[in-house]
Amino acid sequence: MSTTSGVATGEFAQGKPPLDPGKRKSLHDGSGRKAAVLIAPTIVLLAIVILYPVISAVSQSFTKDAGLDPATGMFVQGGFAGVTNYKLWLLQDCGSGAFSCPPGTLGSQFWTATGVTFLFTVVAVSLETLLGFTFALVMHRKFKGRAILRASVLVPWAIPTAVTAKLWYFIFAYDGIANKILGTEILWTGDGWPPKAAIIIADTWKTAPFMALLILAGLQVIDESVYEAAKMDGATAWQRFKHITLPLVRPALMVAVLFRTLDTLRMYDLPKILTGGAGDTSTLSMLVVDQVRTGFNAASALSTLTFLIVFAVAFIFIKFLGANVTEQRAPKTKKAA
């Protein structure tokens, strides 16, 4: 479609009427060149800002980190590393075989960090979806003060994450509001489950409104008459929700869940400020930043791995999402045909 319109514009721009097939072909080529020239700046820009850093990161990940020359005490370039940097993370191999990284090294934390990142993602996104859906359903109803409610629900989303994290840091302090209200003496930023719970609570508080907003947008495109028809047929509220709202809002819902999942997988600022990684709450991104300060090349390997993980999750999601979308659109196509 875009090609045909391209040809049309090309001909029009050159002020020549459509001619015989031979001539037409050369014209087509000319406009193709023109298109290439027009697209070129974008391609070059993308190559500079995306392709170059990616290739550079991947190639760096196969280089050894600079080591000390024992004689001079100065750093010297590391040379080719093969897959050592990847073995450091995947096998926790600090040089003397698999799982040789002692606790306290970054290498020993890869799988813990991966686990905790996925834990945050699964729990927080589930909670956010549930809460977001509930908010959206409430905001979708017509009642007095709806505008104010909509605006106020968005407040947590509008606050910068760093500020949110600091707010919750004070709330979760030992002498903080959380312990006062609950009447407990939990060390929310200490060891064990509390720091994980603290991060999930803070993240859910912050991003449930985002979910609500995207889901609300999905709800608003559903035609009111569908509900009226269902009511006439005697469908209960639950049936209307299950058979009308849920399937029709699904595309919007899936996009919202996808966004949040990818966002949570790369979470950095919230846990960094709230717990600083205490109690095994270092996420993958925090591990990357810690490693950058110690050695760029191992950090490149880690960011490549993180990318692959995020990509795999996104891919699974899209496959799953795409299939459902196709299914839904299939009957429509038949009608159109």
Partner: protein, 437 residues
């Protein structure tokens, strides 16, 4: 297009994933960028001439640096110094310096380095060794501040500010401060009688934990690294005694369990609220505890040097402080060298103390009667810094401090025994200094 909506939609979705993923890579790729670490091959760049220079340091919160520079500029109109302020976050200052050194930026002539970064920058070949034409007279300085800036027996930066830990205590409850750790722990019954917590330092999982754990280990005669910085020395009875003292404090409740979430401020608040008998903290707490509206201990607290392991030996504080280093890429190193000497001069050191409460590096200032009158904690601070031990001097400091923090935190929060934590700490510190991974 209407013919096969399913596929085209799916394809579009997939390319959407690719775009999203690419954005992710972009962000990650940016982290991995610029892995070039100069090394010794880069020595002898820039120039040994005079001329205008730039002094780079973290945000000057007390406003004492610009006045000093103005003074310099008035006296040296043809060698003007410009101040470049970084953020007030130490990590960001570090990363900013690294980036500018990697870019061989000649505009960063004199840089202020936290004493834990000096050996890293030195080993990367970014700091001008202070030898030959640049030899510095360090005889008037507190020795620990010089050790902290010395890597491979070479001085790489000129100490400009110092800092040491102090023991804050409630003189209404404890008339004479404890001299030893055991004495202090035995006084915890007084805290119990008064229904308050006994002792706290900084035990949250961050740099402060390294400071406190290193203090405990050094106080009990242990060390983290050997003198040449090439071996970890944590598998000793002394190191165990040090870490054990803290672990036992937590087990007995003499150190409250919430102290594993304490940074400097939480401890200070607890002490100012009258809920803590002893507090290990930096000198900045002194004036706040005296003047804060919410402080309930204004007239009832005192300061003492940190308690030692045995009588007659003061505790070994970890050393804080900054130094000024000359970038090897500077074109005007002669001016730069004169300027760092100026920052170390008695005049500026005195100014910075009186106007910004910055602990000086010149030993004699601590005995100046007028200064002591204004800052009554100076004699104790001098004792503290005289007995201070720099945190491990190694180019692999970030990995070393991480190894200490993670394992010490497990020990203090009770999820690991002292022995297991120390043995893991020994292995991970050794791993850190022998490769950087």
């Amino acid at each position: 297009m209407f013919g096969k909506p399913g596929t085209s939609f799916a394809t579009r979705k997939i390319s959407f994933t690719l775009a999203l993923a690419a954005t992710g890579v972009l962000a990650l790729g940016a982290c991995g960028g610029g892995g070039d670490s100069g090394g010794s091959a880069d020595a002898a760049k820039g120039g040994n001439t005079t001329g205008p220079i730039t002094y780079v340091q973290g945000k000057d919160n007390s406003g004492i640096v610009q006045p000093a520079i103005d003074k310099w500029n008035a006296a040296h109109p043809d060698q003007k110094v410009t101040l470049k302020e970084q953020t007030d976050q130490a990590d960001q200052q570090h990363d900013d310096l690294v980036q500018n050194f990697q870019a061989k930026n000649a505009d960063y002539d004199v840089v202020s380095v936290d004493n834990i970064w000096t050996s890293e920058f030195a080993a990367k070949g970014w700091l001008q060794p202070l030898t030959g034409d640049y030899s510095l007279d360090t005889s008037t300085l507190l020795p620990a501040t010089v050790t902290a800036e010395t890597y491979n027996k070479t001085l790489y930066a000129a100490p400009t500010t110092s800092d040491g830990g102090l023991l804050y205590y409630r003189k209404d409850l404890v008339p004479t401060p404890p001299k030893t750790w055991d004495e202090m722990m035995s006084m915890c019954s007084i805290a119990k009688q008064n229904g308050i917590d006994c002792y706290a330092g900084q035990y949250a999982q961050y740099e402060g934990l390294t400071v406190n754990v290193a203090e405990a280990i050094n106080t009990f005669g242990g060390s983290i690294l050997s003198e040449d910085g090439k071996t970890a020395t944590l598998d000793t009875p002394e190191a165990k005694a040090g870490l054990d003292a803290l672990v036992k404090g937590f087990q007995d409740g003499d150190i409250p369990k919430q102290a594993t979430t304490y940074q400097e401020e939480q401890g200070r608040q607890s002490f100012e609220d009258g809920k803590l008998l002893f507090l290990r903290n930096w000198p900045y707490v002194y004036s706040l505890a005296k003047t804060d509206g919410s402080s309930t201990v204004k007239e009832t607290f005192g300061v003492a040097p940190l308690p030692g392991a045995t009588d007659g030996k003061t505790g070994a504080s970890s050393l804080g402080g900054h130094a000024a280093g000359i970038s090897v890429y500077s074109d005007h190193k002669k001016t730069a060298f004169e300027f760092i000497k100026f920052l170390q001069s008695e005049e500026i050191q005195k100014d910075w103390l009186t106007k910004g409460s910055a602990a000086p590096v010149i030993a004699s200032l601590y005995d100046d009667p007028t200064l002591v009158q204004q800052f009554p904690y100076l004699p104790e601070l001098k004792t503290s810094i005289e007995n201070a031990v720099p945190r491990p001097v190694t180019p692999f400091y970030p990995a070393v401090t991480k190894a200490i923090q993670d394992n010490a935190f497990s020990a203090l929060s009770g999820s690991k025994s002292t022995d297991a934590a120390l043995s893991d700490m020994q292995k991970s510190v050794q791993n850190a200094i022998s490769g950087g991974q």
